[in-house]
């Protein structure tokens, strides 16, 4: 079954917060190595969809499959927790506000999870951290604390922290939205590098140029539905849906 099933397979995802339906019957597939961008105005459900994939916001209805395993399968509570914890180790997530652990050095931010969950020794974890931090250009700051870093540096450490778990899928929720404009590029470069290494990624972003340059496919979401999806050339240059055009027009006006 896993052979012909998509790597990420979201089937009829539905989510309500109380009476408010935030995701309305969303289906979406991502193949291994693909990079999918999600755009849409604030409140359209982008974060909720992303957070459903690693069960931070569990769905109210529908199924999510990752690499042949159902994420939100019915299990008794304890088994479900174990299942989700194991699954989350395979899915890296990067947040808008970095969420680095402020009481830990950059090194310990990266080594904590591998040591705790994969039983790496101090030495092995250190080597791993150095490798990952080097990858995002933060090796020189390994002994710093988060409070001593710029936003762009924090986000690069957050990416290294996620990568240290060797995830097979990376989720980015507006990774550059909280950054000063001059710090956006350094984070984008890291993400581009990941793209070149064929990491499977789902990227929620407000940066249309960036989405156009790295994504294989772009989804436009509005009010809990996927209005339109396609290759970036089509979505950004020739969208078929009036709502997509409207959004892009407003976005360009807002940006300039």
């Amino acid at each position: 079954m896993a052979q012909n099933q998509p790597f990420v397979d979201i089937r009829h995802a539905q989510k309500s917060f109380g009476k408010v339906e935030v995701l309305k019957d969303i289906s979406l597939t991502v193949e291994r190595g693909q990079i999918v961008g999600i755009i849409g105005s604030s409140g359209s459900g982008k974060s909720t969809l992303l957070r459903a994939i690693n069960d931070l916001d569990p769905l109210s209805g529908g199924e999510i499959w990752l690499d042949g395993v159902q994420v939100n399968k019915k299990l008794p509570h304890r088994q479900y927790e174990a299942h989700i914890n194991a699954l989350r180790q395979q899915v890296g997530m990067v947040f808008q506000h970095f969420n680095l652990f402020p009481h830990l050095s950059v090194r310990d931010n990266v080594t904590m999870a591998p040591m705790l969950l994969k039983n790496l020794s101090r030495a092995e974890a250190n080597r791993l951290a150095e490798e990952q931090l080097d990858h995002v250009g933060m090796l020189e700051r390994i002994e710093y604390y988060p409070s001593q870093l710029s936003g762009g540096q924090k986000q690069r450490v957050a990416i290294a922290r996620a990568l240290a778990m060797k995830p097979k899928l990376m989720l980015f929720d507006e990774a550059t939205s909280a950054l000063d404009p001059e710090l956006v590029e350094e984070v984008n470069l890291v993400m581009k590098k990941l793209a070149e290494q064929h990491m499977t990624m789902i990227i929620v972003t407000h940066e249309m140029d960036f989405a156009a340059s790295v994504c294989d496919r772009v989804l436009f979401m509005d009010k809990g539905v996927v209005v339109e999806e396609g290759p970036p050339q089509v979505i950004f240059k020739n969208p078929t849906q009036p709502r997509t055009r409207e959004f892009l027009r407003k976005h360009i006006e807002g940006a300039s």
Binding site: N85, R88, Q89, M93, N99, H103, L116, L117, S147, A162
Partner: protein, 218 residues
């Protein structure tokens, strides 16, 4: 009869023994109040209902009744049900639990004040809720409450004088005993006060050390 402080050095050994007991009981109770405070806070916030209820009762008893009564209860009361604790142990437990309840209130508030994104980031990496609390949330909460807990510990030092009523020869009781022999209350109560002041200074120094060590990581 005028004041004559030259008599104090003669009884210094008794006073210093009192200082030792005071420091000992303060340290033991402080440790218990710190560890207990964290445990109480975790139970209050995340414990199952069945565990939370007895803890609420314990909290109420320790916050709502005089410490003196609590010490009597632990030292004299428990004997009746076959638990005969040495005075020092009973005193440490009474003081420690009393302040654990106050520390727990502080720690609970601090845990709730830790940004939600911290728990989320930890869970996203695959940590269980318990691991995330232990490694990420509680350490940050504890850092945030070091200053107010420090104040509680100064209060604990002062209240440690109360354990004299169950016969621990701590500083205040030692001073009293010397006064019983010398009839010089003013000199020896002042001497005891000076010792309390010095212990206080030491505690503040330790607190500043700890605060400085954690200041980068805030």
């Amino acid at each position: 009869m005028g004041l004559d402080f030259s008599i104090v050095p003669k009884y210094l050994d008794i006073l210093l023994l009192g200082v030792a007991w005071t420091v000992g009981i303060t340290l033991a109770a402080a440790l218990l109040s710190f560890v207990g405070g964290i445990l109480f806070a975790l139970v209050a916030l995340y414990g199952p209902w069945l565990l939370r209820q007895p803890f609420r009762l314990v909290s109420w008893v320790f916050m709502g009744t005089p410490l003196l009564l609590q010490l009597f209860l632990i030292y004299f009361g428990l004997v009746q049900i076959g638990i005969d604790l040495p005075a020092f142990v009973a005193g440490s437990i009474g003081l420690g639990l009393h302040f654990a309840v106050y520390n727990s209130e502080l720690i609970q508030a601090a845990i709730l004040a830790v940004d939600r994104g911290q728990m989320e980031a930890a869970r996203t990496l695959g940590l269980s809720r318990g691991q995330a609390l232990r490694k990420v949330v509680v350490p940050q909460a504890v850092r945030a409450v070091i200053p107010p807990i420090g104040n509680n510990m100064i209060a604990l030092l002062k209240d440690s004088a109360l354990v004299s009523v169950i016969g621990v020869s701590e500083l205040t009781l030692s001073a009293q005993r010397v006064i019983g022999k010398t009839y010089r209350p003013f000199e020896f109560y002042l001497a005891a006060a000076a010792f309390y002041y010095v212990i206080n200074l030491c505690m503040e120094w330790v607190q500043r050390k700890i605060e400085r060590r954690i200041s980068v990581s805030r």
